[in-house]
């Protein structure tokens, strides 16, 4: 009895150590790549014990990519990655078939929308120039005077009616103007997850990460296996590494 009990407890210890070993082997034996991440809610990403991360491979516009393949919830997918000039990886394409070569990350479809919609808005700025932006949804109508806050890549992060004292946070470009036109674009979209959506934050470190967040330079280091499975190894925020 005593030895059988000891054996079973020992096996439990081995299992726990095994999880750690499995992770260490994964990290050591595979190449690590950097993915640019978008915080899910840019106003409040560090709530709770973990950060929810989103990537360009998380919400995929199939029509823009010219993909006709049909996707359903829980389908296994492979997001094919290509290296950018900055050294990070971005999505090139997505497929249900496993690619023969190249860098790709394996994931699962969480939602498939046949009729997702986004808005195309035309704005005339004070100096008379016309600019066009896209947003998932809008809270204003044609003729309103609006304020748009743009991220580093030129995409709209937030938008609201322009009033006195309304300003964008530091580091975001401000655009104000009168809305000329709002068009709805219907497209096919899938949401996917790859097992790299949660980064657990240690309570003390959360604040440091939060203050550095405004740099809007969030990169995630992922140990990527040959079969496409990825695991987060570190988080870079404004050039600072968090492990």
């Amino acid at each position: 009895m005593r030895w059988k009990f000891a054996l079973l407890v020992f096996l439990q210890v081995i299992l726990l150590v095994g999880i750690i070993g499995y992770r260490q082997y994964w990290v050591e034996a595979n190449e690590r790549i950097l993915l640019e991440s978008v915080p899910v809610d840019p106003r409040d990403i560090f709530r709770g014990d973990y950060v929810t991360l989103s990537y360009d491979i998380s919400n995929i516009d199939l029509d823009t990519l010219g993909i006709t393949e049909k996707f359903e919830r829980n389908d296994i997918i492979y997001a094919i990655l290509k290296k950018t000039d900055a050294g990070t990886y971005k999505m090139d394409s997505v497929s249900k078939a496993k690619p023969a070569e190249g860098k790709f990350i394996k994931g699962r479809v969480t939602y498939a929308y046949d009729k997702a919609s986004r808005k195309k808005i035309t704005i005339r700025q004070g100096n008379g120039s016309i600019r066009v932006f896209e947003q998932p949804w809008v809270s204003y109508k044609v003729g309103d005077n609006v304020l748009l806050c743009l991220g580093a890549d030129g995409s709209v992060i937030t938008s609201r009616e322009a009033k006195e004292n309304t300003k964008c946070p530091d580091g975001e470009e401000e655009i104000t103007g009168i809305v000329q036109d709002i068009q709805e674009i219907i497209f096919r979209r899938i949401n996917a997850e790859y097992g790299i959506e949660h980064y657990f934050v240690e309570e003390g470190k959360g604040r440091v990460i939060e203050t550095a967040r405004n740099a809007r330079d969030l990169k995630i280091e992922v140990a990527l296996r040959k079969d496409g499975k990825g695991l987060i190894t570190a988080l870079y925020l404004g050039g600072k590494r968090f492990e």
Binding site: F5, Q12, V13, E203
Partner: protein
């Protein structure tokens, strides 16, 4: 077994038995007193220090509280503890509670109940360890695996030590795993009725796996968690199906990897039970009905998942309600037949739930709110009086029958 370790329930039974032995002339009067004297200490201890059951309940609750506190401690002191420290705490706490528990239960034997609870605490810390390690290393790959590993790894311990508490924990954890894993196999969003059907089938399977344990003498004392959990899951799932849920599909081909193992386990359990010696009364009917329900749901789920989909208030709902009501009568009858109060109590519980649910279904729109609540309250009060009286009569008749036999 030493005389000091027997519990008072045994002593009470023995008292009755010895009485009978004496009237039948198996023993003479002096022997009766000597036999009882030998076991009397257990009752004395209980009178002075509270019952065994009370101690078990308190120490199990203690184990659960310490386990929860342990998880919260690590979670809230996350930043102050370095990685190695966190791992040290997890492994240290787990090993200490296992070893101390084993020592108190089997080596020193002076605090057996506390020993059991400490070993249970060890299994809780082990499970917490899996999730904490996953957090420390940011491992979020297919998270249901954590629960699966926890459940499967503590199951052998439950068998080795024959602990009902550890077995109950293992089964609950595996049920949670089943729920999490199922969401990965259902293609259309959130169609939870498919999950309920799988749970119903699992409940029936667990129920009979419990019977198979009961049939085997060496496993008899860990059959209860299977049977009780099985019955509760079966009736709980069936209860959900009595509502107007027929707008959804019953199953999908994607779930065959779940249906088949459940059916195989059920069949194996049925064969094992049929082949073993002592049987419950009415087991053939019980087995037949459960086998029919299981195969019925399997056929519905795989071949006719659309039977009732997208038809409101369909015929199926009435059928489900009739089957559910018949099931309640059946389980209460079985409880009566086998003198098993647990069956009767579970049956009555689900009966009350049914009455409340149907009352809401039919009268919520028809009656003014005030009348609705007054009426409902009166029904419950009257119902509880009748149920309590009926329950007492039934339980008393068990005792009376024992006397006659």
């Amino acid at each position: 077994m030493s005389a000091g370790n027997t519990d008072s329930a045994f002593y009470k039974k023995l008292k009755k038995e010895v009485e009978r032995w004496q009237t039948e002339g198996i023993i003479v009067s002096g022997q009766k007193e000597r036999i009882l004297e030998r076991y009397k200490r257990a009752e004395e201890i209980e009178e002075k220090a509270g019952s065994n059951k009370l101690i078990t309940t308190i120490s199990v609750l203690g184990a659960i509280l310490v386990g929860v506190g342990f998880i919260l401690f690590i979670a809230s002191n996350w930043s102050e503890i370095p990685r190695a420290g966190k791992l040290g705490i997890i492994f240290g706490a787990m090993l200490v509670s296992y070893i101390l528990g084993f020592y108190l239960r089997y080596e020193r034997k002076n605090y057996p109940k506390i020993g059991v609870s400490l070993i249970l605490l060890g299994t809780i810390i082990f499970g917490a360890g899996i999730f904490l390690i996953a957090q420390i290393y940011n491992i979020t790959v297919h998270y249901p695996n954590g629960s699966l590993m926890w459940g499967l790894a503590i199951l052998p311990l439950a068998y080795l030590l024959r602990f009902q508490s550890v077995l109950t924990l293992a089964l609950l954890v595996l049920c949670i795993w089943l729920g999490m894993e199922l969401t990965f196999h259902i293609a259309d969003d959130y169609s939870y009725i498919k999950m309920v059907v799988v749970f119903f089938m699992s409940g029936v399977m667990l129920w009979w796996v419990g019977y198979a344990h009961k049939g085997l003498a060496s496993l008899r004392n860990i059959s209860a968690p299977y049977i009780l959990l099985g019955i509760i899951i079966t009736f709980g799932s069936a209860f959900i199906l009595t509502f107007n849920v027929n707008i959804e599909k019953f199953g999908s081909l994607n779930l065959i990897p779940f249906y088949f193992p459940i059916i195989v386990l059920f069949v194996v359990a049925a064969i094992v039970y049929a082949a073993t010696g002592e049987k419950e009364k009415g087991w053939q009917i019980e087995l037949t009905v459960l086998a029919l329900m299981l195969s019925g749901f399997f056929v519905l789920a795989v071949f006719y998942p659309d039977t009732a989909a997208y038809k409101e208030q369909s015929f199926n709902r009435i059928i489900f309600n009739i089957i559910y009501a018949a099931g309640i009568i059946g389980i209460i009858y079985l409880g009566y037949l086998n003198k098993n109060p647990a069956y009767i109590n579970i049956g009555l519980l689900f009966f009350v739930l049914d009455v409340i649910a149907r009352y809401f279904d039919f009268f919520w729109k028809l009656l003014p709110r005030s009348l609705f609540f007054i009426g409902g309250g009166l029904i419950l009060l009257a119902g509880s009086v009748i149920l309590e009286r009926k329950r007492r009569v039934v339980l008393q008749s068990f005792e009376a029958k024992e006397e006659i036999l």
